[in-house]
Amino acid sequence: MILTVNGVETRCDSPPETRLSAVLRDTLGLTGTKIGCDAGDCGACTVLLDGAQVCACLVPAAQAEGCAVRTVEGLAEDPLGAALQRAFLHHGAAQCGICTPGMLMAAMELLARDPTPSRAAVQDAIGGVLCRCTGYLKIIDAICDAHRFRAPVAAPGDAVGARLPRLDGAAKVAGFDRYGADAAPADALWLRPVRSPHAHARFTLGDVTPLLAAHPGLLRVLTARDVPGANSFGIYPDIKDQPVFADGYVRYRGDCLLALLGTREAVEAVRFNALPIAWEMLPPLDVAAALAPGAPDLHGFRPGNVLTTGRLHCERAAPAEVHVAAGAFETGFVEHAYIEPEAGYAARIGDAIEVFACTQAPYMDREEVARVLGLPQESVRIIPSACGGGFGGKLDVSIQPMIAIAAWITGQPVRAIWTRTESMASSTKRHPARIAARAACDAEGRLVSLDFDGDFDTGAYASWGPTVAGRVPVHASGPYRVPRVRAVARAVYTNNPPSGAFRGFGVPQAAIAQEALYDALADQAGIDRLEFRALNALRAGDTTATGQVIAHSAGLSACLDALRPHWRTLRTEAAAFNAQGGAIRRGTGIACMWYGIGNTGMSNPSTMRISLDPDGRLTFWNGAVDIGQGSTTVLAQIAAEALGLPVAVFALVLGDTALTADAGKTSASRQTFVSGRAAQEAGAALRATILRLTNAGADARLALEGGQLFVDGAPVVLKEALEGIGQFDPPTVPLDADGQGIPYATYGFAAQIASLDVDTRLGTVALRRIVAAHDVGRAVNPTLVEGQIHGGIAQGIGLALMEEYIPGRTENLHDYLIPTAGDVPPIDCILIEDPEPLGPFGAKGIGEPALVPTAPAILSAIHDATGARLHRVPALPHRVLEALNRREMDR
């Protein structure tokens, strides 16, 4: 058939039922069109078909025949398309970039008929494209603004503090960035896992020979017996509890039984009822069942099913308790919903193995792959693909062990791309929490005590459960001075999906409880909710519940000061609105948070390297993976500033375990702080070497032009390569049995206000505005910081109002709802810069802090509007209405 793609007539012989997305990607090699779901739900595959936006995954090749197809690869040919791409870069509208091609094409449909659209028209146009990173606001800005970018605009500076467009942005808006599914050797075999549809069962696998005979292209069925090394993986070195292939026993719906290996056609043609599997069902355990006396042990090494218990106990002199608030709170499973499902390939090269896949933690992947293959780590090379979103979900290995095993055994390259449903069913989730808490303050509103008891459903496997159990008690009392704290967080094994790392590691769940109780105390004490927080806010010099003195950079008071005028205005507006009466009630809520940057009381070093070759090639060897948050750009800005050369002269080598040093994982909001400091050290070290070599003074001006280094205008001849290496490991002290110690070297602080309307008849919530004040130490790149805040808030909105993963029920993006372009209200970002002396140029982290206060601020506003306190999120309309009715009964 003939397709016209980006103006070029193209002949292709794809079968007529092939999805257009597959034709474009697999047959024509146009991988700019992304696939996030194959079901019309994410819009990542949006292309223009005769000028109309369509999901390429829902268009059969037969129906595209004779039509003009336009994809992201053809966008720049249209001057308006090129303008739109420039606007995206300028506004920071692409973070991980996986949604970007779809966004651009959806926007083009609109811009073609209205080059200066309203925001509402833009929302309608991109309403069918999901973005998990940006919170949409910068995307909408960029689309509205595209007409102003018909000619290239001057780039802003690249100094620390400048709004430098992201360095990997051009590839993302052009559709050329290579994600996990975008590249593989032509002769790669396909691997397709088969997963358990049952949450708890034993199984036996019979003879697969008939299956292999019935499917000629099917080469092998890989099972537990085929694992050359240890058939287990897991984040903690002493808790490798998750099998690559289950060995006769499954612990959750999604556990991997085996993998089919062969040609793509063959593995895709297998229907699982053709597999010789005999099941013996077992009753699935939830938290209550798992903790019940006599419950079976899901893992032999943890009798009683409690994986870890984190504790904090601090008793300091305190005034008498006058006001007391207590309550129970519940949160559900939350799915990361990165738009890029897990994908990649592995290739055996002699006695070594290479894995190209999306990841947040290449060095940890290397350990895991080496372990399952029984190889030394040096024999494993991890090459991270561009990462289409992670949010904690790509810290654990997913496809890596199994494709590595398959490639190792067969000697042939092996690739895999998970379907959306497989991704959601198998990957880790945010821990559901059941929290009982009690807080008290004195007559003046000074906090006296917090008691916190939380059960966190860690699911079938440990993953990051111990991290959550460790982090929650530290943060449970919030960013306040609380003299008496008793906090316990248990991670409990169940037959649910493994809960792992998700933006905040349990702190967002804890904040929902803690902030609700502090609201209640403020009300009882008759103190404004913002002033109550200002009164109790941790300040520099204060001692935390772990006994740590926060010496510097505790900007919560500054955040609250910045919010105060907004708070007053929004409260006044709400009062005026509510005075009119009616079913719609307006409310204003506030919540604060703190967040320890980096690992909890554990070493988490980063090493950065900058080299300067005699031929003048300046290379930044940066092992940190940019998952969209912007570390590639931020670390380059820091390194450049420390060295004294512009960002543009650096060549970048990024996150490849064979080339770069270990920068640690992209998690815990640590890359700007930890790797940033290492980058600063590396830049400074190279600078010192150059200055020493040239006997130049400390403030000498460096330049690098056409491969020639100049110091204070004088050319320098380099006889040998120079390098600067920087290392940083934030100083911490491990927590003792009572949770005392110095868990983190620094903390991010923030406060957010939510203004919203509750429809008291329908229980629906309409967000009006979020005002977010964040102490980031130093905003190395304010556009990227705002992007993190917007994106974190969008995820906080999802947590508060709509997201709930229910195995077997909401395992697609149709039934699992994340915010769309119409669900994020205007956000005011206020950046507070209370510098952290340990951080690079004073910077701390922002990735996770952005999300933590949003849900509690929204719940606070719902309570303010209606008097109804939600004890369970998401606050779906029926839950809000139930809470309203309960409130009426309580009266």
Partner: protein
């Protein structure tokens, strides 16, 4: 490997279908492909012998005849949304604007929505409130079924395996009517309705002379509400308080989107507001 047949004429299509009733008609694919994806993920069987309706002539038009409007089976939501139609179609057009996102509206068809027979199909309440009929063709001939006789249950229709839906027919009722649609979901775009309602009203001197009201997502198939329609007659729009007795016949269920009790309560509110809004619109019109 599946089968894909792409007939160029209705006669050919009907002959293919008669010869192989297992063939699945394929219009916009916005229901079929997602179902395939969901089943593929768990290694389940899915239909893969398709009769592509994309090349059939004459199914993509909205036509006005003397006593009815004819909406071709392949008319998309976008075409309906953008069509110039009389006000009794406002509800249907509003529903079209709320289906999925722009991509789904550009591809999904009205007939696909009816044939898929989801309890939450947004096209059904507005068409119920328009007394629409479904036209079916087979080699045996043409027949028409009124919508309640066509959609029999959750994912069940009266379509025989050798039949295609060729059009949705909306009778002209001779007098000016106004209509409206309300959809309630947990997010702004791309959302399946928790509850939705459509109403078509004929007013005489500010009072309701005839009402057709339907609610979806509160029963296996969206339903008209005869008790409410009867009670509305003679009242001013918005005047009547909608009560649970008016909802006789609805049987909402609990699912992850909402509880049954909530759906029942929300249906009352949505209906009350929809009727009030239609009254306001009438007032504006009269003034």
């Amino acid at each position: 490997m599946g089968r894909w047949l792409r007939p160029r004429s209705m006669q050919e299509a009907l002959a293919l279908l008669a010869a192989d009733p297992a063939l699945m008609p394929f219009a916009g694919g916005t229901d079929l492909y997602p179902t395939q994806a969901a089943r593929f993920a768990w290694g389940q069987e899915f239909p893969d012998a398709m009769l592509d309706l994309g090349a059939l002539p004459g199914l993509a038009a909205i036509e006005e005849a003397s006593d009815h409007w004819r909406i071709g089976a392949r008319v998309t939501w976008a075409a309906l949304r953008d069509a110039a139609l009389p006000p009794e179609f406002d509800a249907l057009r509003a529903a079209a604007r709320e289906v999925g996102g722009a991509q789904i509206q550009n591809r999904g068809t009205i007939a696909g929505n009816l044939c898929n027979a989801s309890p939450a199909a947004d096209g059904v309440p507005p068409l119920l409130a328009l007394d629409a009929e479904v036209e079916l063709a087979s080699l045996r001939g043409l027949r028409r079924l009124c919508l309640p006789d066509f959609i029999l249950g959750n994912r069940r229709t009266a379509r025989a395996a050798d039949e295609l839906v060729t059009a949705v027919l909306v009778p002209k009722q001779g007098d000016a009517r106004r209509s409206g649609f309300e959809k309630l979901g947990a997010r702004r775009y791309l959302v399946i309705s928790i509850v939705m309602a459509a109403a078509t009203l004929r007013l005489e001197q500010g009072r309701i002379a005839a009402a057709a009201v339907a609610v979806g997502a509160c029963s296996p198939v969206a339903r008209r509400l005869p008790a409410l329609e009867a009670a509305l007659r003679g009242t001013r729009p918005g005047e009547l308080v909608v009560t649970p007795t008016h909802l006789a016949g609805l049987a909402p269920i609990d699912d992850p989107r909402a509880s049954a009790a909530y759906r029942e309560e929300a249906a009352l509110v949505v209906l009350q507001r929809l009727l009030a809004r239609l009254g306001d619109a009438a007032g504006v019109q009269a003034a």
